[in-house]
Amino acid sequence: MSHKPDAPNGLTRRELGRLLGVSAGLACLAPLTGCNSLWERQSVIPVDGWHKGVCRFCGTGCGVMIGVTNNKVVDVKGDDEAHNRGRLCIKGLATRDILYSEDRALYPMIRKDGELQRASWDEAMTLIAQRFRESIETHGPASVAFYGSGQLYTQESYTANKLFKAGIGTNNVESNARMCMASATTGYTATFGKDEPPGCYEDMDYADCFFITGSNTLECHPILWERVRDRKRSHPGTKIIVVDPRKTFTARHADLHLPIHPGTDVSLYNAMIYVFLQHNFIDRDMVENYLTFKDGEESRTFEEFKRHIAKYTPEAAAKTCGITPRDIREAAFLFATSKATMSLWTMGLNQQVQATHSNRLVSAMHLLTGHFGRPGATPFSISGQPNACGGVRDVGTLSHALPNGRLIANPKHREEMEDLWKVPRGRISPKPGYHTVQLFEALGRGDVKCCLVMCTNPGQTLPNVTAYRQGMEKAFLVVVDAFYPTETTKFADVVLPAALWVEKEGVTGNGDRRYHLYPKLVSPPGEVKSDLAILVELADRLGHGDLISARTPKDVWDEWRKISSHSAYNFEGITYERLQKERGLQWPCPTESHPGTKRRYLPGQDPMATGSGRFDFYGKHDRRATIWLDRQEEPVDPYADEFPLILNTGRILEHWHTMTITGSAPTLKGIQPDYLEIHPYDAYQAEVKDGDPVIVKSRRGEVELRARITEIVRPGMVFATMHSCRHLINQVTHDVYDPFSKEPAFKRCVVAVRRKSA
């Protein structure tokens, strides 16, 4: 404080007053000036507004809050009010960046002189319409096909399904969900008569035993896994049983881990049922009043079922599965005697030759022991894509299916849909289309000339992919994707750029029958259009504009929910207004005042269950769920001297599917999935050291990977991820599929591993 010696008093007074006045003024005014940065804690990332949405990635369907500033997504956080309780996994966090990838497709491209060259929308759409028309006129409607995705919004899948089946008149409508959830569909349908899980995520808050089979939940569905862990944290007596050939991160948290040989599930579950029967862990009321037993087409009695199971002693099964009988008995004991047991499974069960068998046996274990329909007691299949349930299974975007669980093969179902879609009777072809593997075979044979591929990457994901790439090369292939290049655009004749995530609006259905709304928050880049707009334009150009009368996401949804009211899926009450407000709604939900249904087949809870007993399995004519007599079969691809190892494929936490999205996210792209897990013993035998380049070879092809020597895998088994496009593991995998679901068996094939010579 400076002072003037000649007037010390006055100055001091003035200065003091000024100081006090200024500080007091500042203190009082700070909150009023709008300088909130001084007054309140600020976010590191400034956000203009937060909007409710859903994560782009897996089938968990986590609620997210999306921060938008200047027409740009700048931040994403978990939604506290959604079922994920504010949590997101690392992939969910990365949605912040996915729209701004350098690999976005920005304008249409047409292949000219072997090169994809920029074209106008009109040029591209004219060419597509011309080629499709020519093909339909010359070779019939069955010469064109649609190959969609469990990532398209429901409105998009629905429109494509309607356009191709009721407009063009072909049932060649498939989806990548065939390679993902088809076995869960056939499993549920075989048991309950209706697809989709009977339980819900909330059951995880009540289960006392988790039977996790064929799922690396920790890495592949981390948010569901956290919910399982929460249950165990709050109730430490909760048991977690993990059935997985590998000692995954999930298995490391298990109370009991059963590392069975891939493809021996049927033996294990039958042996567990053996233990249930042996110790009478059976719900007699359920067996007498709510179950029937079947062997193929023939009915069986409970006594006959017992005789069938008698062959599957834990001792015999243990030998098949490569585990101990004691482990099987313990698993069965924990499963049957807990207060409420919840099973969780996904691709490990679905992607094998006996996938449908395995699926329905897990449901059978629940039904026989009565672990069904109570909070926490349910068989629950987890879903891999955000809209495999809503957009593919519910809509019926599969070659054998029609909306809401109807079947092409059923004339009554066809008529119902023809009436609902207001097309003449007989419009829908009675012949089921090609399922996924067949479809790409047909492309190779030339039976299918034109194929529209939307939002998926079959050039990488098909099993034994080399064989099917030729078909893609040969046919007129239109690839609609948000990213370019992909393994599929290599074979595209036309590439159309599609909007991604919140660049377009739509509804998806996640793993627990919950429909969510994805709002449109930002404009798409370049000349990008939404998949719905592309389909509508294609319909117009193919002369089916009248059929595709609903052209906005809301209009399509309204048409679709009204159609659903003519089925047991009934979600007519899930209106757009409710979707905008709520954190998703679970069907059945027949009226606008209905709160949605958590658990199905329960009179009083499920509006479709009109019976009066404990359960009403309304999907079946006799209102009883079916238990199937399933037998363990010999592996399709047996060991051979030259192929002594079994290859299993899967995922890691940080990447998703073929990495088209996660591969360019700044936070994830550094994480490499190009490795082969191999047991130290097998590595020793093959003279492979950690980090060595190795060649994995099967009867179909080979791929180079880096060896990662680990005891995560058992001796005799190797593991690779399905993510990388640099090294396509699907050049090695087997294209054999489950005869019921037609889902390929990615989880097992025999291979040889050798060190790559320098």
């Binding site: 309140e40 600020q42 956080k77 504010g86 997101l88 690392i90 249950r231 936070t667 550094g670």
Partner: protein, 250 residues
């Protein structure tokens, strides 16, 4: 003058010695987080009470009772004690009591707005981060403060500002109920303990995200949370104050 100086010099130096002694005792207790029955906070609080009582009495007597009867120099020296030394002692004791005392869980629990948080933390079967850190004894003491270090004496200015703002909102009843965390939580609170541990290092994602985590552009609790019951669960708990347990959502 000299006579009077001497007569006041002795007690003054005694007082200074006394205060210095207490201060030294205080620092010792501070340095070795004592397990004694009397905590350092109690010592400072006692000192503050003593200084305040002494100061108030001294000033009332000096200014309003004996003002006319004491000499000018004496008056000034007594003021030195009453308006300077004792207030400074009281200020310092109070600051330390506040800074150290608010670290204790009891301090947080004294405000009903914090009830759902503290109840949840002490709930043996709650899965929240706070509850798990508490029941597993991962943090030995001052469990609230351990993850919210901004408000201690070594905390940030922003932490003090937030404390003042929260207090203003509380006494004027202008806070949202249930309360919401605004802004970005500093991951350094998590990383200071977890980073460098085997468990942390072996997760590839952690390495990949380190830059984003350090800049607080993404939060540890997004994957590993929630740290406390969610707003609607807290609202439910507050509506039923007797219920300690936050039940799973129906």
């Amino acid at each position: 003058m000299m006579h009077h100086d001497r007569s006041y010099g002795r007690p003054l130096s005694l007082l200074v010695a006394f205060l210095a002694g207490i201060w030294l005792t205080g620092t010792t207790a501070w340095a070795y987080e004592a397990h004694d029955a009397v905590s350092d906070v109690d010592v400072f609080r006692g000192l503050g009470i003593a200084a305040s009582v002494a100061g108030i009495l001294l000033l009332i007597f000096v200014q309003y009772v004996y003002r006319k009867r004491i000499r000018h120099g004496t008056y000034h020296r007594l003021l030195l004690v009453g308006v300077f030394l004792l207030p400074v002692t009281a200020t310092w004791s109070t600051t330390t009591t506040v800074m150290e005392g608010t670290k204790m869980v009891q301090a947080c629990a004294s405000c009903h707005v914090m009830d759902p948080f503290v109840n949840d933390m002490k709930n043996q079967s709650s899965p929240t981060l706070a509850a798990r850190h508490y029941r597993n004894n991962w943090i030995a003491k001052d469990q609230c403060y351990a993850c919210h270090v901004t408000y201690g004496v070594t905390g940030t200015l922003a932490g003090k500002r937030d404390g003042f703002r929260h207090w203003l909102h509380y006494v004027t009843d202008t806070y949202p109920d249930p309360i919401q965390y605004v802004g970005s939580y500093s991951n350094s609170n998590c990383l200071s303990c977890h980073r460098g541990t085997n468990k942390w290092e072996r997760v590839k994602s952690h390495q990949a995200l380190l830059g984003e985590l350090s800049a607080d552009r993404i939060a540890c609790i997004t994957c590993h949370g929630p740290p406390h019951p969610l707003p609607d669960e807290r609202a439910a708990a507050a509506a039923n104050r007797t219920a300690l347990v936050v039940k799973p959502r129906e």
